[in-house]
């Protein structure tokens, strides 16, 4: 497959042939499969396990124009100690911020093990010249980002300039150095599941460590059917190449119940190897508090409320 990857990316035409040669996705069938998995009933011990795992998988995110160092410090503290009253509560996987906030986040998190992810490449639109995108990336990495969440050029993808998208990802990955690269497809703009599958493969072939659904700025963001297709993609890519790629749904996942549906899907579609923060993340902000409230409910038997979790 390694040779066939280089073959497939040898020209625009070859790449097009490869991507369009991937099996089609029937939308209705995919939606039904996703809905079916959504009816799994996860209770008691399984639920407790899933909630803690979900907390460990959260990329706690703030990506707003009005972000400040103060806001980011608060978020980082929350990431380290989601439930300050319960030392058994795990930390989140990472915080996710704009590049100019990386240094602040890094400093607050110190050696906690919580990683710093930075969105880069003219997030969220990706509409900037290549040198700007690369500079954006290098800047974030230089500030200490462990992970870079880049956006693909959806315009180029939708107009069929696949090689251009591919080469951009390769270049950004190079600019990442040791930082891990997550490739945001912005599936809400790709619209069809066929495009989601093709973009997933394109990003994986270009060397992305993770494929990620969305910026959170476009609706729909992460959905279960899109996740189904992307999880099939990481599963099939490993089958074909032996390389494992992570998956991050982002945007719109607000409730524990939804998070658990994702974990069920990961478990049954990609497989349990992906049930690990190294290979699966939730890009989310409000989800964490709902997970914490559910965690308390399981511990105490009583429903919790927003005043019993921290707002940061």
């Amino acid at each position: 497959m390694a040779s066939s990857v280089s073959e497939a990316t040898s020209s625009d035409a070859a790449l097009r042939r490869f991507l369009h040669g991937l099996p089609g996705v029937d939308q209705v069938g995919a939606e039904q499969r996703a809905a079916g998995l959504g009816t799994r009933s996860i209770k008691t011990t399984a639920k407790a396990w899933a909630i803690d795992l979900a907390i460990r998988m959260v990329d706690l995110t703030t990506l707003e124009g009005n972000d400040t160092p103060g806001k980011v410090r608060a978020l980082a503290n929350k990431a380290m100690h989601p439930d300050p009253l319960d030392p058994t509560c795990p930390s989140t996987a990472a915080v996710c911020v704009y590049p100019d906030m990386v240094a602040t986040a890094k400093k607050t998190l110190g050696s906690s093990g919580v990683k710093v992810a930075a969105v880069a490449t003219a997030f969220p639109s990706g509409r900037a010249a290549m040198p700007v995108k690369l500079a954006d990336t290098r800047d974030a990495v230089a500030a200490g980002a462990d992970e870079i969440d880049m956006v693909i050029d959806r315009g180029a993808f939708l107009s069929g300039r696949y090689l251009e998208v591919f080469e951009e990802i390769v270049a950004v990955k190079e600019a990442c150095g040791d930082a891990h690269l997550k490739v945001i497809l912005e599936t809400g703009e790709l619209q069809t599941l066929d495009s989601v599958r093709r973009a997933s493969w394109l990003a994986m072939m270009a060397g992305g460590h993770f494929i990620k659904t969305s910026t959170g700025k476009i609706q729909p963001a992460a959905t279960l059917p899109v996740s189904l297709v992307m999880l099939e993609a990481v599963r099939d890519f490993r089958e074909a190449t032996g390389q494992m790629v992570g998956y991050k749904p982002a945007g719109g996942i607000r409730h524990s119940k939804d998070a658990i549906k994702y974990l069920v899907m990961v478990n049954e579609v990609a497989g349990e190897d992906w049930l690990d923060p190294d290979w699966f993340r939730f890009g989310a902000s409000t989800l964490l508090n709902d997970l914490l409230m559910q965690r308390n409910k399981l511990k105490t038997g009583a429903y919790s409320g927003p005043d019993y979790v921290t707002l940061d």
């Binding site: 029937d26 939308q27 209705v28 069938g29 939606e31 619209q191 069809t192």
Partner: protein, 291 residues
């Protein structure tokens, strides 16, 4: 020289054979039976078909089924209309045969031939309409295109009623219009117009094997058709013996043939739709609608 040799010419009489696969073979059994006119005077010997003739007829009907059912409905309508045209051209012959067979008046014979031709025209027009009348879109509760359309059942065996031309056309035309092929046992009493109708069909662009006409004993041949596993339906319209009809229905159950029970409707009234629908299957096709 005798006068008769110059003024009288000896008729060339027709040998009435079977009509199978577009050909006119004699019964493989070599048998025939005497057909008399209404006054008991000898008219002709008709072939007395055997079980092997029935078998050959079914084989021909099965072979013709794919092609005939695969034609466009428009084309089948054209062919049936063509039968009407050719029949119109040979109406004198049929009128004469009907008068000889049934002993009816010239006016009555003309009326029957008129009605027979008109019935063919009626069914010619049905070919490309029946699917619209009995099929359609089904509004299912989900993102699916769902559509039902009629398809012919396959090979249909028919026992024609004892109404020589009109009766035969009334049972055969609806069956083939929709794309079935058939093996019809002509009226045992009035077999001759049926074979002459075979000649009309053989010259009307109707592919060989779509209609196969057997003459002979219903009691002898029909059970072989009723039990034949490659026959999909059986029309018992012309079976007058109730016990035989029940036996045929029992035999037909072996491979779940579609059965039309005995009895002939008023042929003057508009024909019942189930002359066609009894030998139609409904096929429903689902497909998701997505982007």
């Amino acid at each position: 020289m005798s006068p008769s040799s110059t003024t009288q010419r000896l008729d060339v009489k027709k040998t009435y054979k079977l009509y199978i696969d577009g050909q006119f073979p004699r019964s493989e059994s070599g048998r025939s039976y005497v057909v008399n006119d209404s006054k008991g005077k000898f008219l002709a010997n008709a072939s007395q078909a055997s079980r092997k003739d029935a078998r050959d007829a079914v084989r021909a009907a099965r072979a013709a089924f794919g092609g005939w059912s695969g034609r466009t409905a428009y084309n089948r309508g054209q062919v049936i209309y063509r039968i009407a045209e050719v029949l119109e051209g040979r109406r004198d012959q049929f009128e004469a045969e009907l008068r000889a067979a049934e002993g009816i008046s010239a006016a009555m014979a003309r009326k029957f031939v008129d009605a027979s031709i008109d019935r063919l025209v009626f069914y010619a027009g049905w070919a490309d309409k029946v699917a619209q009348v009995v099929g359609g879109a089904n509004p299912v509760a989900g993102p699916y295109f769902n559509h039902s359309a009629p398809e012919p059942s396959g090979v249909v065996a028919i026992v024609a009623p004892d109404r020589p031309l009109m009766g035969l056309i009334s049972v055969v035309a609806p069956v083939i219009t929709t794309g079935n092929t058939c093996v019809v046992i002509a009226s045992e009493k009035y077999p001759l117009p049926a074979i002459t109708l075979g000649e009309v069909m053989a010259t009307s662009d109707l592919p060989g094997g779509v209609v196969n006409v057997l003459t002979g004993s219903v009691a002898e041949i029909a059970p072989w058709l009723a039990s034949h596993l490659d026959v999909n339906g059986i029309d018992l319209t012309g079976v007058e013996d109730a016990e035989l009809a029940a036996d045929l229905e029992v035999s037909a159950a072996e491979n779940l043939k579609r059965v039309r029970r005995p009895g002939l409707e008023d042929l003057v009234a508009p024909p019942p739709l189930d002359r066609m629908t009894k030998f139609l299957e409904t096929k429903t096709v689902w497909h998701p609608m997505g982007i």
